[in-house]
Amino acid sequence: MRKLKEMFMMNIRQYAMMLALLFIVLLFQYLTDGVLLRPLNLTNIIQQNGYILILAIGMLLCILTGNIDLSVGSVAAFVGAVGGTLMTVWKWPVIPSILACLVLGILIGCWQGYWIAYFRIPAFIVTLAGMLCFRGLTLVMLKGQTLAPMPDLFRKLFTTFIPDVLGGEGLNYTALTIVAVLLCAFAFFELRDRQNKKAYGFEVAPFPFWVMKILLVAAVVTAFTYQLARYRGIPMVLVLLGALVLIYSFITRKTVFGRHVYAFGGNEKAAKLSGIDTNKVFFLVYANMGLMAAVAGLAFMGRLNAASPVAGVNFELDAIGACFIGGASASGGIGTVTGAIIGGLIMGVLNNGMSIVGVSIDWQQVVKGLVLLAAVAFDVYTKKKTAK
């Protein structure tokens, strides 16, 4: 029992965030008379926040190095402007246009990463410069005007749903089937991990607890999918987001590169003296941020069905806020992808819930600001307590 308590204490930040998210969801479910979790609204929340969450994943890596990226909103807008011009003005086909946009994102990331990692200009300054430059370039590119509409295929890629091949009256069976398969895979991998740990002779949580954990995850995911299935099923953005979360969770937790990022943020000198190519790690993190900004830019453009000169304004602040609410440390070395996603969802549900209740935009900002402050204050408080 004491072991369990210790395990709980070690992950208190993660659990606290999940409980906070649960609390906010229940609160608004009550305040909105159940509108919040209705199938249509749930789908909306995902589509409204997808691109912020994508940015938050990339931002988390930057924050792990102890820095931030202020340019992502402008980069997303610029990539969108270029993509829009390619597809609507130059009439490029959709897929090559998307690839070109992704390459452009990586190039922009490399450009900023070069100054940050090899020239060692503070990331804050390089990305502040990027924020101005790429916003300006967006306006130049679009001549200050909105480009619309996008080709049908492009819009569909980011705004439609996984087609329901299994049919079903008012319920999307395909969505439920896919999630059932994914849950089985999840249980299988968890079980394998547990067996592996046992084979090594490590301590594992008692079996009933393990079963409870799996069942809890399955229940939440199934309930969530059921609501989506009652509307139009799984949105494409969710597929993209899910894939990115899986990939980046894996990279941060299980790969040498991920470990290098954490080591860099924890103590750069020590990392360097341990044989880590710190400049390269730093560079790759920012190159990757460029890629993620491009993905987010495309997703946003798809949802808007237009390339807008004011796209992406303040995205960087939402992404940074998501990471910090999700438990990342401003000084680097601490934070998880899951945390950033939970942080982003807390912000998203707050936005959506308050809008439904009828709280005006100005007050929404105040509430979001206070939530950010409270989350980090909680962090500092628990840290102080465990230190003593």
């Binding site: 040498v256 103590n267 003296l273 341990s274 044989g275 070395g333």
Partner: protein, 514 residues
């Protein structure tokens, strides 16, 4: 019989799960220098923190009587008000402020919030004269050496009309000359009637200047030794500290034959990283054989750390020239990564800022330099293997924690040092450059680290031992190189090595340069 200035009666302090101090009684007489010694974690700092008000009244049991009056300290300010000033191990100076600003920081000479600079500078000048620090009060603090910064701290303490000065490891970061200065200053202050308590691991200094020595072990006072006639010897103090007589402070190594050449350096020259025409290392040549421990001694600033780091993949310096041979083969190393790949390891002198990731756990700190060994070709880590490896090394190095999931920042200095050594043990290098491997750790942990060094040598590793503690180098090394001002000025074998011989080499080279 002198008057008792301070009496701490039956002090008991408990932290959750630990009793840090148990019924401690501690007396200090007016005008004496009282040394407080004990291993790390024995409770010295806790006791001093209670005395200075860091732990407020009510968080401990017992009573403090200062100059006949019972004291209730709620903050550090309260203790300073009656003249108790503590100088912590980590200096609390603001680097970009001047000496004068630092001396009167928090105690500004001001009228209605406006600082009177003339008075500030005049009084600082006065204080600096008292402590014989010949610097302009307007000098920016970061431009001073550590030794002088320590003196500024003392000036700050005197400016507050100190009656009892507490110094926590004041000489830990100082070289011999600066240490002597500081100790002489303490003797001066004593003549002026200032009482001091000094906490130190450097027992030779303690035996030289302390009038009385109190030994603490496991949160209890073991004994108070009277050293008025300066006749207490180091061994006697150690006996009290560890509870048994340590016959050998350095473990014996069985006689062994010298192996092949592992590391050879010829004409190694390195420039300052910013001003590359200013040479830091000037044409150094030396070698280390397999299974050999080679000591590297010199005064602070001789260039030992710079030499080691420049060899370790050019981690320090610019404008490199000279040759480096590893296992007989020429090697040009551009980064620590390449150096590690060729079988080198460097254990830094500054474990907190350049060695460990303090916010991470033991496991990740051990695996940091050898992630390649724990992952497949695609760079995916085997975390289970990592835990197993780390757990093995934790037991082998007797890092005293329940598991490898402990945060390194919460460990004692000795355990932190063992964690770094474990990291390099796992990397399995041929040549180890150990820079001050026992700095700031207690006698017991030092002995364990000496054993590890000997074990590594017995495995055929070549070891370069850099240390400011001469007895340590003399006790551990097969051969000793003496370094001064970026040059090698002497090579001594085990038989001919002694503290005097080393100093002679340094003095001689200083004369030649002059």
């Amino acid at each position: 019989m002198a008057k008792t200035l301070l009496r701490m009666k039956s002090i008991t302090k408990t932290f959750p799960g630990v009793r840090a101090l148990n019924d401690v009684c501690f007396d200090v007489e007016e005008g004496e220098i009282h040394a407080l010694v004990g291993e790390n974690g024995a409770g010295k700092s806790t006791l001093m923190n209670i005395l200075s008000g860091v732990y407020p009244f009510g968080s401990y049991e017992g009573e403090i009587v200062f100059d006949g009056e019972t004291c209730v300290f709620n903050t550090i300010k309260d203790s300073e008000k009656i003249g108790i000033v503590i100088i912590h191990q980590e200096l609390a100076l603001v680097p970009y402020l001047s000496i004068a600003e630092n001396v009167f920081l928090g105690n500004e000479r001001a009228r209605r919030g406006v600082i009177d600079w003339s008075e500030t500078y005049a009084r600082t000048d006065d204080l600096l004269k008292q402590i014989r620090l010949h610097e302009n009060p307007a000098t920016i603090t970061k431009d001073l050496g550590v030794g002088k910064q320590q003196l500024v701290e003392i000036a700050k303490a005197i400016s507050k009309d100190v009656r009892l000065l507490i110094l926590d490891e004041p000489t830990a970061a100082l070289n011999d000359e600066d240490s002597n200065n500081l100790l002489n200053l303490l003797l001066d202050l004593k003549k002026k009637g200032i009482t001091s308590i000094i906490i130190s691991h450097k027992l030779n200094e303690v035996e030289k200047i302390a009038d009385r020595i109190t030994v603490i072990r496991d949160g209890a006072v073991i004994e108070t030794l009277d050293n008025a006639t300066k006749n207490i010897r180091e061994d006697r103090i150690i006996k009290g500290m560890v509870g048994r007589e340590i016959v050998d402070r350095f473990p014996k190594r069985p006689p062994h034959a010298r192996g092949d050449l592992a590391l050879e350096v010829r004409d190694w020259t390195v420039g300052d990283p910013l001003f590359f025409d200013r040479k830091k290392i000037k044409g150094v040549s030396f070698n280390v054989h397999k299974g050999e421990v080679v000591g590297l001694v010199g005064l602070m600033g001789a260039g030992r750390t710079e030499l080691a780091m420049s060899l370790f993949g050019r981690s320090y310096g610019s404008d490199f020239s000279g040759c480096l041979f590893l296992g007989g083969q020429s090697a040009t190393l551009h980064s620590p990564k390449e150096a590690i790949a060729r079988g080198m390891a460097y254990v830094t002198e500054d474990r907190k800022s350049a060695g460990l990731i303090l916010i991470d756990d033991i496991r990740h700190n051990i695996s940091l330099a050898s992630l390649g060994k724990l992952s497949d070709k695609r760079g995916v880590l085997d975390e289970n293997k990592e835990i197993t490896v780390a757990e093995d090394l934790r037991k082998k190095m007797s890092i005293k924690t329940p598991s490898v999931f402990q945060k390194v920042g919460n460990l004692s200095g000795g355990n932190q040092q063992k964690t770094i050594l474990a990291r390099w043990l796992f990397a399995n290098p041929d040549v180890l450059l150990l820079d001050e491997p026992t700095r700031g750790i207690d006698v017991g942990a030092k002995y364990e680290i000496y054993c590890i060094i000997n074990e590594l040598a017995a495995m055929g590793k070549a070891i370069v031992l850099i240390s400011s503690e001469m007895p340590e180098v003399l006790g551990m090394s097969d051969r000793i190189y003496v370094m001064n001002e970026g040059r090698f000025v002497g090579e001594l074998d085990r038989e001919s090595a002694s503290q005097e011989a080393i100093m002679k080499c340094i003095m001689q080279s200083n004369r030649e340069v002059a």
